[in-house]
Amino acid sequence: MATQQDIKRRISSVNNTKKITKAMELVAGSRLRRAQARIEALRPYADRMQQLTVDVAAATGDLSDQPLLARRDVKTVAVVALTGDRGLAGAFNANVVRRSLEIAREQRAGGREVVWLVVGRRGASTLRFRRQTLTADYAGITDRPAYSDAQAIAERVADLYQQGEVDQVVMVYNHFVTALTQRLEEVELLPVPEEAVTGEAVTIEGSYIFEPDERDVLADLIPRYLEVTIYRALLESTASEHGARMTAMRNASDNAGTLIDDLTLKMNRARQAEITQEILEVVAGADALS
């Protein structure tokens, strides 16, 4: 049986772990709030950009020569998987990796090739371990994704698409619902869906002057849709990661608390047993003398 000393040592070790998980929970909580605030802050930009794109597309009329809207036979699919750089966040990373691999399997079964672009060290290392070749991987951006990070990814996929190296791009990420739940989302990035450029255009009196001209302005606007979509997904993914970590760490702290209670009970029993033992010994000794 474990002695009082042993149990005491375990209690203090569990206590230290609890302090760490508690601290991680608090850090994740404050980062979660920051990520949520940034999702809010993006909304006006995203909405106005979308409206502008719709207006310009309506003014242009002919969309057939926009390379990012062009649909063609799909021979190669690019999967963009958004994961985190670190673990200890429940099923956050595993869900994205699992779904991405499922998509890859389905596509390959349909005779199409799959290429990978991966955000986050976790996803990159798991997918490499599964012998997938990564066309691009991005690390160190998920804690606080910047708009320029989204631009880098957007330019890369647009480039692959325009060079004809891929014919379709899908993105898999965690959508933030609450700290307890994240919803796995799959969106088609390229070709740019029609809804992104069609919609209710705001009519103005007369017509716009375009500089340089409407076709070039539109060709400049359409990639912004990609950037905004990727940026929003990065922010959602970051919020989800912090939410998942916060929940995982809260559970860990709770478990540590239960464990400490159990151990304290055990320690008290051990102490009581020791005292009883000593009394028995004293009594037995006294009996022997009389």
Binding site: R38, A41, L42, P44, Y45, A46, R48, M49, L52, D55, V56, Y147, S148, Q151, A152, E155, R156, D159, V202, I204, E205, G206, S207, Y208, I209, F210, E211, P212, E214, D216, V217, D220, L221, R224, E227, V228, Y231
Partner: protein, 136 residues
């Protein structure tokens, strides 16, 4: 300067709006040259290159920003500026801006040698250049 009409001006970035309100004139770095927009300007849509943007509000106060590329849309007395990044001039650290420009130029050198993304390096260099100019 009450002799000018007011127009509504919004300068919005992915991080949120940096200017919202009535203004007398807004000057933006259009892709074909500087554009000064006052009230009752004809409807216009233009792409913007990285550069300097300034807004003069109705009190005659000038708000200056170094901006990344983007767009401007002018409707009747409503001017909307959408840019990837906008840093107020008084918040630019001159030393940091120069360091960023040097880094960007080094990247651009590499990109010209065929390594990395050239388009991205060019844009970063152009924005860093705008930051340096605004800070000097």
């Amino acid at each position: 300067m009450a002799d000018h009409d007011a127009q509504r001006v919004d300068v919005i970035t992915p991080e949120g709006p940096v200017f919202e309100g009535e203004a007398e004139i807004v000057v933006v770095p259009g892709s074909a040259g500087q554009l000064g927009i006052m009230a009752n300007h004809a409807p216009l849509v233009s792409s913007l290159k990285p550069g300097q943007l300034h807004v003069t509000d109705m009190q005659g106060q000038r708000h200056e920003f170094a901006t990344d590329g983007g767009f401007v849309e002018v409707r009747k007395n409503e001017t909307l500026v959408l840019v990837g990044e906008a840093v107020p001039r008084d918040q630019i650290d001159a030393g940091e801006a120069r360091a960023r420009l040097e880094r960007a130029q080094a990247q651009l050198e590499q990109a010209r040698g065929g390594e990395g993304d050239r388009y991205r390096a060019e844009r970063e260099a152009a924005f860093a250049e705008a930051l340096v100019q605004a800070s000097s």
